[in-house]
C-alpha cells in the first residue's frame, strides 16, 4: 500500500524500502558480474570464524553463525574458484546501534590477481563503482520521494591513516610501536574520550600479556578511541560529495591483510568511508598460514585476557591457505550503503522488516 510505514519505526515506507533494496541488490550484482566476478553463496552456519578482536560470533547449535564469508570464500579461491563475490547474511553479537545490527548484509568479493601484485587499488576502484551504482539505482527507484539525500561521492581521497593519526595526536607513529610505547598516548586518548580506567588497569600496560598480544590490544583500543573522537569529526568536516579511502594501517591492525613488503610496519589494508560512515574494508590478502595462525593466536590471547570463551581455531582454512592465489578482497556493508543512498541516518529506517 503506498504511504504505509513499516513497523520498524520511522524512515522509509515499506514500499520504498522494497524498491531501494531491489535496486541496490541488482546494482551490486550488475557491477560485480560486469567486472567478471562470479556469484557464490556459502554456508551461514560454520565450524569456525576468523578470530578478530572484538568481533563476537553468535552460536547456532554446535556451530557458529558466520561473522563474514571470508574464510569460506578464501577456501574456494585456494581451490581455483577464481574471482567471486557474495552478498552474505552475517552475524556479530552485541553490535546494536544506529549503524550496527547483529545481523547485516556484507558484500564480499575477491579478485584473483594471479601473479600480478597491483596492491589494493583495484579494491578501492570496485568500492567506488559499487557506491556510484547503488546511489544511482536507488535514486532512480525512489525518485524525488526521499528528499535530503546525500550526494553520491564525486571525488575520492586516499588518506594515510598513520600520518593522520600522528598529525592529529601530535606524535610520530611508525605502525609497530609496542604497548609500552603507546601507553602514554593511549592514556591521553582515553582521557579525551571520556574513558575512565577500571582499578588496576592503568600503569604499565596489560601486565602479564605477551608483547604481541599487548600490542594488538593497545593498537585496537587506540584506533577505536581515536576514530570515535578525532577521525569521525574529521570526516564530518569534509565536503559531502567526497569519499575517503583510508590506507596504511599499522601492522598490528593488519587482521587478514599482507604487510607492505617494503617496510613491514604497515598493512596492505584500506577502509572506505562515505558521508562519514565506514562502508568497506579491503586487504591484499595474507597468504602465509604461519603468520595468519600467529595473528589468530594473538586474538585468542586477548579473548583469554578479557575473559571471553575460547573460539575454535579455523584449522581447515589455515590448512588450505598456502594455495591461495594473490588476491585483493573487500567487504562492504550493504545496509549502510542502502541507508546512505536513501538519505536515512539509521539502519532501522531502511530495514525491510
Amino acid at each position: 500500500m503506498p504511504g504505509e510505514v513499516s513497523a520498524a519505526g520511522d524512515g522509509l515506507a515499506t514500499r520504498d524500502r522494497v524498491l531501494a533494496w531491489d535496486a541496490a541488490l541488482a546494482a551490486v550484482r550488475g557491477q560485480l558480474r560486469a567486472a567478471g566476478l562470479r556469484e557464490v553463496s556459502t554456508s551461514i552456519r560454520v565450524d569456525a570464524v576468523a578470530l578478530e578482536p572484538w568481533i563476537e560470533p553468535l552460536a547456532s547449535g554446535e556451530k557458529l553463525l558466520a561473522t563474514s564469508p571470508e574464510l569460506a570464500m578464501k577456501r574456494l579461491l585456494c581451490r581455483g574458484g577464481g574471482s567471486m563475490f557474495q552478498i552474505a547474511h552475517v552475524f556479530r553479537a552485541a553490535e546494536r546501534g544506529a549503524q550496527h545490527s547483529e545481523e547485516f548484509h556484507l558484500i564480499e568479493w575477491y579478485r584473483d590477481q594471479q601473479a600480478r601484485l597491483e596492491g589494493i587499488t583495484p579494491g578501492m576502484q570496485d568500492v567506488e563503482r559499487i557506491v556510484a551504482a547503488v546511489f544511482e539505482a536507488v535514486g532512480a527507484a525512489l525518485g524525488d520521494r526521499v528528499r535530503e539525500r546525500l550526494p553520491a561521492p564525486t571525488r575520492w581521497r586516499r588518506v594515510n591513516l598513520l600520518a593522520l593519526m600522528g598529525e592529529t595526536l601530535g606524535v610520530q607513529l611508525v605502525g609497530n610501536e609496542s604497548a609500552e610505547a603507546l601507553a602514554p598516548l593511549l592514556d591521553r586518548v582515553r582521557a579525551a574520550g571520556g574513558v575512565v580506567l577500571a582499578a588496576g588497569e592503568s600503569g604499565p600496560h596489560h601486565l602479564g600479556l605477551g608483547p604481541d598480544v599487548a600490542r594488538l590490544l593497545a593498537w585496537t583500543e587506540l584506533f577505536s578511541l581515536w576514530s570515535a573522537h578525532t577521525f569521525d569529526p574529521w570526516l564530518a568536516g569534509l565536503p559531502p560529495d567526497v569519499g575517503v579511502h583510508v590506507e596504511r594501517f599499522p601492522a598490528s591492525l593488519a587482521a587478514l591483510a599482507e604487510l607492505e613488503p617494503d617496510e613491514r610496519c604497515t598493512a596492505a589494508r584500506f577502509e572506505s568511508h562515505v558521508g562519514g560512515i565506514e562502508l568497506a574494508n579491503g586487504y591484499r590478502e595474507l597468504r602465509d598460514p604461519v603468520e595468519q595462525r600467529r595473528r589468530f593466536e594473538h586474538v585468542a590471547g586477548i579473548r583469554a585476557h578479557v575473559g571471553l570463551p575460547p573460539l575454535p581455531m579455523p584449522d581447515a582454512f589455515l590448512a588450505e591457505l598456502e594455495a591461495m592465489p594473490a588476491s585483493v578482497g573487500v567487504a562492504l556493508g550493504l545496509d549502510r550503503l542502502v541507508a546512505l543512498a536513501c538519505g536515512q541516518p539509521r539502519l532501522d529506517q531502511i530495514r525491510l522488516l
Binding site: 578478530e52 578482536p53 572484538w54 568481533i55 553479537a93 552485541a94 553490535e95 546494536r96 546501534g97 544506529a98 549503524q99 550496527h100 574520550g193 571520556g194 574513558v195 575512565v196 577500571a198 585496537t220 583500543e221 584506533f223 577505536s224 578511541l225 576514530s227 570515535a228 577521525f231 569521525d232 591492525l253 587482521a255 577502509e271 565506514e278 574494508n281 578479557v306 575473559g307 571471553l308
Partner: protein, 186 residues
C-alpha cells in the same frame, strides 16, 4: 552487568554513587573495539557527565528504587515523609532534598529515591498548586501587558507573577522551571 547490556535508563553504581544513563550511542570503528558513548546523570546531585565504556568492560548495577510518599513536616535539617498506605515514615536530609524543598507542602505526593535502601533524593510532580502568601495588591484587568511583580508563596518560595494576582490566589507552578503557569480557580 556486561557493558553490552547497557541501555538508556540503565542505573549504574560508580564510585559509590547512583547514575542513570540518559543518552547512549554505540560506535564501533573499523575492526575496532566497540565504544558505548553515554551521558550519565547522578541520581542524587543531578550532575550530568560524559562517559565512554569499551567492549569487554563490566559495570555495577545500582540498587535504586523509587516509591511514592507524602510530605509531613520539616525539622530544618531534614524532611519527613510518610507512605500513606503503610504509614511508614522516612527522613531525607535537607542537603539531599536540595532546591526541590522550596515546593514541599503538607501532603504533597512525591517520589522518594532509595539507594541501597537509604532515601537519597526526591522527585516532585511536574506541577504543583501553591497559595500566594504575600504580594502587592492585584491590578484588575491588566492581563495583556506581560508586566510582572514578585510574590511570596505559602512555602516562602518567591516567583514572578502577573499584576492581577492577589494574596490567597492559588497558582499552578512548573516545578522543573520554577515558573508561574496560571491562576487556578477553586
Amino acid at each position: 552487568m556486561d557493558v553490552s547490556d547497557l541501555k538508556k535508563n540503565s542505573k549504574l553504581e560508580i564510585d559509590g554513587q547512583p547514575w542513570v544513563v540518559t543518552d547512549f550511542q554505540f560506535v564501533k570503528p573499523g575492526k575496532g573495539q566497540g565504544l558505548y558513548k553515554c551521558k550519565i546523570k547522578n541520581m542524587i546531585t543531578g550532575a550530568v557527565i560524559d562517559r565512554t565504556w569499551r567492549s569487554g568492560e563490566r559495570l555495577t548495577d545500582a540498587d535504586v528504587e523509587s516509591r511514592k510518599f507524602e510530605f509531613l513536616f520539616s525539622t530544618g535539617d531534614a524532611y519527613t515523609f510518610m507512605d500513606s498506605a503503610t504509614y511508614e515514615q522516612v527522613e531525607l536530609q535537607a542537603d539531599l532534598a536540595g532546591d526541590e524543598a522550596k515546593f514541599l507542602m503538607d501532603n504533597l505526593s512525591v517520589d522518594i529515591l532509595f539507594y541501597n535502601g537509604r532515601p537519597v533524593g526526591l522527585t516532585l510532580p511536574s506541577h504543583v498548586t501553591m497559595e500566594v502568601a504575600q504580594c502587592e495588591p492585584g491590578v484588575k484587568g491588566d492581563t495583556a501587558t506581560g508586566a510582572t511583580k514578585g510574590a511570596t508563596l505559602q512555602t516562602g518560595y518567591e516567583v514572578q507573577v502577573p499584576l492581577f494576582i492577589k494574596i490567597g490566589d492559588k497558582l499552578k507552578i512548573d516545578t522543573r522551571t520554577g515558573a508561574y503557569v496560571e491562576r487556578v480557580n477553586d
